[in-house]
Assembly symmetry: C2
């Protein structure tokens, strides 16, 4: 009989649900609105109904469990805690709510850890016991794999690489502290890099003619690809900060590889800039040993695959 | 029949060997000179002979293995690699050499990891799955326990907290890079903190009458305890740097506790200064959750106990 796992990706707007084969292929998917639900019980009803419908289409089959990636999701407690971008307030016991409805084991983790599971089970991390998954986007997230296991720490909150203070006394972060990596390597951080470089170095660039609020990462990436000096300097600087932060985390967990995903990761020449800066900043015993690569899972199904992979990696 | 493990602490001058009970008590010990041996084979002969003598005294008994803590020791390969402070040059296959001589399993790790094993098996880390061991001395070493296991990384070199770049562009480190924690929190780092503060802040202190090359950490600690403002500021500054570096590593592995050992860890009021700075620098989700404590194993047998504990923790 065929064996499947269910992967669920909960976002602020929509929730995507997929049924995933042993080989890591998302065979069918469906979507419900997250924001349509204020009541978490009704949301869980709809989620369970849609999961059961996906399973029903594949019968006869064995489904070993449901993996969920969600903002502010907590692996140990199986809850979503005060997620600012979700409509449900407070602590939502989603693992318990779904296990009661489905009669299947359910596991939850945050998006960056889900991505790490995806890489570990289906992607470039297969057969690797130690690597880091870095997700660049609105924030900077990370999932750390050590000895073949995703690192959760004593309370489930490990892996906040975006909030490592890279420059003490540096830019004010949304977390209230100063100098966090996220303020230099998230979308807003990269845009700030752009404007600071424009001001300091007197670059000329067509992008400086654009309304300030309209310059985004995609424009910077395109301009860099077209050879714009300011945009290229922005990518270079972003890479240099990421490389420094990664060199520091290498000294902690000594990974074989660092996988990078998310929109800004594709900025023209960002990857070589990260590699160069990381090598420059690595302690000699790590030099030349750590690969920096794109995630092999980047694509439409990545969030579903990551969530599904967790079911397999954690032997749920 | 009684069960024992052997713990070996290899230092540049001497090698200490102990036989350790299940309860973590070092029942007997002996010492051989390390520096008397240039030939690693002869050194291994002497080591094996002394281990066998310790075991012979306890017969009948079962000895499950030999754990060795040594500078530049490599867990995966069982070798000591180009240790600058040991008389044997190159790569020494000590695990293999001793296993052949003893017919017992042998494991090797570096001193800081051995300390982490000691804390995990016999000390304050018992029952804790996630903690960090920080050793302050000539250098700054660390052993990281995650999910109940000492973190080695893909190549065995994880846990170099002393070489995390805490202040980019900061003091030149002995490793050739700039701003490493070790340059601010090792013995030489603390002494440099003292002289920099003396120069910058115009402190008056009897210590400034002492010959510059003679001021050491013990004098600074005693002066701080006696209320000397410059010495107190030195301890405070050292604590603030350690607290910042620890707050960053908490964001990576989220430990329940950080244990501190080694001479400088005992500087008057250093521990409270570390705690305060760490709390000030922690991301809010970690605040108030991480203990900073003295190692429970600090003492004469600590290095032997740590090495012995490794045999048990790794199920050798």
């Amino acid at each position: 009989m065929e064996k499947y796992v269910i992967g669920v990706d909960i976002g602020g707007t929509n929730t995507d649900i997929g049924i995933v084969s042993d080989a890591g292929k998302c065979l069918a998917r469906c979507r419900i609105s997250t924001q349509a639900f204020i009541d978490a019980e009704l949301y869980a009803d709809s989620l369970a109904e849609n999961i059961n419908a996906l399973i029903a289409e594949r019968q006869p089959c064995v489904v070993s469990g449901v993996g969920i990636g969600a903002p502010n999701a907590h692996f140990y407690s199986g809850t979503i805690d005060n997620a600012p971008n979700l409509p449900f307030k407070g602590k939502i016991y989603l693992k318990k709510m779904l296990e009661e409805r489905l009669g299947l084991p359910v596991v939850l983790t945050n998006d960056a850890n889900a991505a790490a599971y995806g890489e570990l089970v289906y992607g470039g991390g297969r057969g690797m016991s130690d690597f880091i998954m870095l997700t660049l986007g609105t924030g900077v997230g990370s999932g750390i794999v050590s000895g073949g296991k995703v690192v959760y720490g004593h309370d489930g909150f490990a892996g906040e690489l975006g909030h490592v203070i890279t420059f003490p006394g540096g830019r004010l972060c949304s977390c209230g502290r100063r100098g966090c990596l996220e303020e230099y390597a998230s979308v807003r951080g990269i845009i700030q890099n752009f404007w600071e470089l424009a001001e300091k170095n007197g670059f000329k660039s067509p992008l400086l003619e654009v309304k300030k609020s309209e310059v985004d990462c995609i424009m910077i990436g395109n301009a860099a690809e077209a050879g714009d000096a300011l945009a290229k300097a922005t990518v270079e600087y972003t890479g240099s900060v990421l490389g420094l932060a990664l060199a520091n985390v290498v000294a902690i967990t000594s990974p074989k590889a660092i996988f990078i995903m998310g929109g800004p990761s594709k900025l023209s020449e960002l990857l070589p800039a990260i590699r160069k800066s990381m090598e420059d900043n690595l302690l000699s015993s790590y030099k030349g040993k750590v690969e920096v690569r794109f995630s092999e899972l980047d694509g439409n199904d990545v969030a579903i695959l990551g969530a599904a992979a967790m079911v397999l990696a954690e032997n749920v």
